[in-house]
């Protein structure tokens, strides 16, 4: 009883009050409760995204700093268990996805705590280092300062080669920023050095974040819930359209190192210790490195393997978006009754046709799930491929 008096609600109630799980239900025509069906909305969102980003030049070599706000507000519990934990969890997933899609790019991590920005990791191509550094110490303290973070990132990114795309992705949980100086100047500075700043807010729209994104050409979004946060993060995984100034083609010197022979011994240039077997050798200076892709620590040559290049390639030649098929067209009856991808029937319960799409080239039909899978993961149309 005493506990109740303290903050008005008992522990058992709190779970409901905070979760408000009933809001995720809705009543259907027959009066049954069912979860709100969001799939149509999600698909529409996905189509919009697809349409926006077709056939434009993209920056494949990205230098991305992820800034995570671990100020006081990150300890709030409106995301379970806390904003901080959720942010870390999804950033981890994002880092993996990012390197999967952009093998030639590099990430660095910065955190804001107590009004000061700290570098967690420097730019690098190894997901494991970043994730380890990120998970190391989760705590939320003090105020947040957008300006300090921008200044720090700006300092770091100013040194990267000019062919790289400089990007900042800020996960911002606070609703204010305590800055030492004029943040507008910092924003202008970022704009000048072509930093593309994107912000994902965790609670509400802030003017300064919006302004920052508008000025630097980034995206600003606010997460509604955990799933949405994840989607918003992953939106940043595919490379953004190239900035006009960078659109001129550039020749970049790259090395394709050979895998060192089994059992050979060498001093690893990244860990500064003797290692046996595995690893790669820089073709220019013969230094040994552990992971690809990376930059040779001795001669500074960019080291990649050919699959990396190939994986980056699809961003430049994406599959044309599929056309939506109107529910009652004659063609549809005649042609496929099942999805060409997964072979599932395109006629749902009660002989009602399921919404589906068709490839412009091969005219095969696909269900919506396959549509997303083909465009986001496969990057090949099974229909067109099977013609060859």
């Amino acid at each position: 009883e005493e506990e109740d008096d303290e903050d008005g609600i008992g522990e058992w109630e709190r779970a409901y009050v905070d979760d408000r799980s009933w809001e995720e239900l809705q009543e259907d025509e027959s009066g049954l409760l069912r979860p709100i069906d969001n799939s149509a909305i999600y698909h529409a969102q996905y189509r919009r995204r697809l349409r926006a980003g077709t056939r434009i030049q993209k920056g494949l070599i990205r230098y991305l700093y992820i800034v995570i706000d671990f100020s006081r507000a990150a300890a709030e519990m409106d995301f379970r268990p806390s904003r901080m934990a959720i942010m870390a969890k999804h950033v981890e997933a994002f880092i993996r996805e990012f390197f999967d899609q952009n093998p030639l790019s590099q990430i660095g991590l910065v955190s804001i705590k107590n009004g000061v920005a700290h570098t967690l990791t420097d730019l690098g191509g190894s997901p494991e280092t970043h994730i380890k550094a990120l998970m190391g110490k989760l705590e939320a303290l003090g105020d947040s300062s957008l300006q300090n973070a921008l200044e720090l990132v700006h300092e770091h990114l100013n040194q990267v080669p000019s062919y790289g795309h400089r990007e900042v992705l800020i996960l911002y949980s606070a609703l204010c920023t305590c800055d030492p100086g004029d943040i507008m100047e910092t924003i202008q500075k970022c704009k000048k050095s072509k930093l593309r700043c994107s912000v994902i807010g965790l609670s509400a729209e802030m003017f300064i974040c919006k302004h920052l994104c508008q000025e630097t050409g980034g995206l600003y979004s606010v997460a509604v819930d955990e799933v949405h946060l994840k989607d918003l993060l992953l939106e940043h995984a595919p490379p953004p359209p190239a900035i006009a100034e960078f659109a001129i083609a550039n020749l970049i010197k790259m090395g394709f190192p050979q895998r060192a022979a089994e059992g050979s011994m060498a001093i690893c240039s990244c860990h500064k210790e003797v290692k046996i077997g595995a690893g790669y050798m820089c073709p220019r200076c013969k230094a040994r490195v552990c992971d690809l892709p990376t930059e040779c620590t001795i001669c500074g040559l960019t080291l990649v393997s050919s699959p990396h290049l190939a994986r980056s390639y699809h961003h430049l030649f994406p599959i044309a978006p599929f056309d939506e098929v109107p529910a009652l067209s004659d063609n549809r009856r005649k042609l496929g009754k099942s999805c060409f991808g997964c072979q599932q029937s395109l006629i749902g319960a009660g002989n009602k046709p399921v919404p589906c799409v068709t490839c412009r080239k091969c005219k095969h039909y696909f269900c919506l799930d396959c549509d997303i899978y083909i465009h986001e993961s496969l990057h090949n149309c099974p229909g067109c491929e099977s013609i060859h």
């Binding site: 008005g8 009050v17 507000a73 609703l175 920023t177 800055d179 509400a204 729209e205 003017f207």
Partner: protein
């Protein structure tokens, strides 16, 4: 887009139109057709101004044989500029589509301070001293003198304007104040006098309320407007107060002292005039000079010539404070025809007022009994009083006094005298020896307060064919016709069509400890209520981004609550999240605070602004976009009900218009509250939350007086909230609003109509429109 409303082709400068704008135009057109007055309530941010302008100008174009004139009254210079800006856009559009026949002359008129281009005149700090500085250079006698004495300084702009005489015309077009100044500078003509001259030729005039409502100004500015004019009062929710203020005068001790000094000066002037005449006779060189003028004036008054108009035309600057039809066309009474006698009368009047101010008790009197006691004690008759103002004007012109700002006190006193002498009903005289809230500081004040808003506006209703009263908050709409005593042909309230629910009103009745909160007199100082109010803000500032505005019911309440919050550490907690700014009675200080508040919002630091309902900020400052994501209205902003003036007015309203005391008070409080919370939303793309923090708002009789566009968003679930529930709703709302949205409203709710939509609608009728 171009479309037809019945027989009028409307030219609308945008490609799309909101459904409520269309409806607004339809109603407005009906009122114009009926040549009657109308009351239209439409929320801010729906493009009221452009709808209004575009219909009236189009109406004018469709009736070329009887051109109507548009007189648009705004409250502030800023609004005036905005209106003219929109008109400019519209005008360009119409000219593009119709060619030169659509050309109109539209201009804004403001005081000399805003229009003057003479740098020396502009150096004066306030409005009155700019006026005086201008007169010093442009009065007819000064100009006459300068022909003999080249050292007298004149205003080149005015001289050039006078030289151009009839040729000084503005070419057709839309002129903002800035444009007028630029034009004046360019041509070397005085923009102020040019604008005043051009009023009679202009098709659209935009100026302040006072130019129509305050008889002192209206007398010579708006005299020549034709009957076929449409008068629009924009943001007119406070029009009754403006009307009342136009006819109310208050006299303090400083006023009397100033008036006494003025009289001494006038006396000196008169004496020196006579002195001169003696010298003149001795020397025998000049004929009539100053004294001659005084004599000539006397003769004129004896002959009973009308006071104004006969004097040199350009010099009118003091018109009678009484309404035109109440001024008797009589000769000035004999006892004040001579200047010396008039000065004596004024002295007696001042003495009498001084004695009355010395009272220890609060006194309330009707004008009739005041005049009779004045007559018995100071020997001044009612008729004499009535002519005070005109007589003073005449005397000051005769004495060629140009420092009009110095003579304000005596003008106030004469103003008072004339009003007391003219009106027997609808006024009362209240003498208070001290401010009720600070009883130990003697600050006597004598107020002549007008209770009847319909008095000042009556000539406007009588004179012009259509008067449009419009605002974002006119609820309850049936009360205004009663207050202003007129019968509108159309009175309607429009809702806002929105693609998303961008306003989120909430009624908070309990704190987080479930105890009721209110600013009711017996509860307001309860520490529990104060704490709950504080906690509400602490929680809110931590979840609302950028700007938060709080309105309190009065300055004293605000001071009290902030002091308590400071003691209990609540203020500190707020400051951790956001900076705190406070409105004070000092205008400069408040402007500075506002400026810094905006900067704090811009740079992401976030800020809270503490303000007072009925204050300057609540009336004129917008907190749109990130400058106000949340507004908290602490309590119901009732007027100070123990105020003698309010009591007298309530009595009068009850006796004359059968408006119940409680009804009027609630109406007045709720329109203020609506006005306050309405500050946060200025356009449809904007969003904001409104919290009414008082348990009394949950009662139907209070709530129902809020304007429809707020009520329609006030869901039942939001009517009886405690702090923690409000926090949750706010969080959800802010997240939802941060998502991208489509402006056209393709998801079923059509809020932007295109040309085709309108044509379709014209066939099927307006009723089918989806809200």
């Amino acid at each position: 887009m171009i479309f037809k409303i019945e027989d009028v082709t409307v030219y609308f400068p945008y490609d799309n139109i909101y459904p409520e704008q269309y409806e607004y135009m339809v109603e407005l057109k009906r009122a114009l057709d009926a040549k009657g007055h109308c009351l239209l309530e439409m929320p801010t941010g729906t493009g009221k101004t452009i709808a209004l302008l575009s219909l009236i100008t189009s109406y004018r174009l469709s009736r070329p044989d009887s051109p109507i004139k548009l007189v648009y009254c705004t409250r502030t210079v800023h609004e005036m500029e905005k209106t003219l800006g929109e008109l400019k856009l519209l005008h360009d559009y119409q000219v593009r589509h119709l060619g030169t026949q659509a050309k109109i002359l539209a201009l804004g008129l403001s005081s000399r301070k805003n229009l003057c281009v003479n740098t020396k005149v502009l150096a004066a700090e306030n409005r009155d001293s700019v006026d005086a500085a201008c007169r010093k250079r442009t009065a007819s006698w000064v100009r006459a003198l300068s022909t003999e004495n080249p050292n007298v300084e004149l205003c080149d702009f005015f001289e050039n304007y006078e030289k151009a005489a009839e040729n000084a015309l503005l070419p057709p077009g839309v002129y903002t104040l800035e444009d007028l100044r630029a034009f004046g500078k360019n041509r070397g003509w005085c923009p102020y006098f040019l604008a005043r001259h051009m009023i009679q030729f202009a098709n659209v005039i935009v100026y302040s309320y006072q130019y129509l409502l305050d008889p002192k100004v209206a007398g010579f500015i708006s005299k020549e407007l034709q009957k076929e004019s449409v008068v629009v009062f924009d943001e007119a929710h406070n029009i009754d107060n403006v009307c009342i203020e136009a006819l109310s005068v208050s006299v303090r001790r400083v006023t009397l002292e100033g008036a006494n000094r003025n009289l001494n000066k006038i006396r000196q002037e008169i004496d020196s005039s006579y002195y001169i005449i003696e010298i003149v006779q001795l020397v025998g060189r000049f004929k009539a000079t100053d004294a001659g003028r005084l004599r000539a004036e006397y003769n004129r008054l004896v002959e009973g010539l009308a006071l104004r108009g006969d004097l040199s035309g350009g010099d009118q600057w003091l018109a009678n404070p009484a309404l035109p039809h109440d001024i008797l066309k009589e000769a000035v009474p004999g006892n004040i025809r001579r200047a010396e006698h008039f000065v004596h009368v004024l002295r007696r009047l001042l003495q009498y007022l001084g004695v009355r101010l010395d009272t220890e008790n609060v006194e309330k009197e009707s004008p009739v009994s005041f005049v009779s006691s004045l007559n018995s004690q100071a020997g001044i008759e009612q008729k004499t009083l009535k002519f005070c103002y005109d007589r003073l004007q005449s005397l000051m012109l005769t004495l060629e006094i140009t420092d009009t700002d110095e003579f304000l006190p005596i003008q106030t006193v004469c103003d008072f005298a004339t009003l007391v002498g003219t009106y027997a009903r609808g006024f009362s005289i209240i003498i208070e020896p001290y401010d009720e809230r600070m009883p130990h500081i003697p600050d006597p004040i004598l107020q002549l307060s007008c209770h009847d808003a319909s008095l000042a506006i009556k000539p406007v209703f009588d004179r012009f064919q259509s008067v449009v009263i419009t605002s974002g908050t006119l609820s309850p709409i049936d009360l205004y016709p009663r207050l202003l005593n007129f019968t509108p042909v159309v009175s309607r309230s429009f809702k806002m069509s929105m693609t998303r629910d961008c306003i989120c009103p909430m009624v908070l009745t309990r704190g987080s400890d479930q105890l009721p909160v209110s600013t009711k007199f017996d509860m307001r100082s309860d520490p529990g209520v104060v704490r709950n109010y504080g906690k509400l803000l602490v929680e809110m500032v931590s979840i609302v981004p950028d700007g938060v505005v709080c309105f309190f019911v009065s300055y004293s309440y605000m001071d009290g609550i902030i002091a308590t919050w400071n003691e209990t550490g609540i203020l500190k907690e707020i400051m951790q999240q956001k900076l705190v700014f406070i409105e004070t009675q000092d205008v400069v200080e408040t402007t500075l605070a506002l400026d810094n508040y905006r900067r704090a919002c811009d740079c992401g630091r976030g800020a809270v602004f503490f303000s007072v309902a009925r204050g300057k900020v609540a009336e004129g400052i917008d907190f749109d976009r990130h400058y106000g994501r949340l507004v908290v209205m602490y309590g119901v902003p009732f007027q100070y009900t123990l105020s003698k003036i309010l009591r007298a007015r309530l009595e009068y309203l009850h006796d004359t218009f059968q408006i119940k005391e409680g009804d009027f008070l609630t109406f007045d409080a709720l329109r203020q509250a609506a006005q306050c919370v309405g500050r946060v939303i200025r356009s449809k793309a904007d969003y904001g939350m409104m919290i009414f923090a008082d348990k009394r708002y949950s009662r139907h009789d209070k709530r129902s007086k809020l304007p429809g566009w707020i009520l329609s968003h006030l869901r039942d679930a939001h009517l009886n909230l405690s702090t923690d529930m409000a926090i949750h709703i706010a969080r959800e709302f802010l997240r939802k609003m941060a998502q991208p949205y489509d402006k056209a409203g393709t998801m079923g709710r059509k809020t932007l109509l295109t040309q085709e939509d309108l044509e379709k609608m014209a066939e099927t009728g307006v009723q089918d429109m989806a809200y």
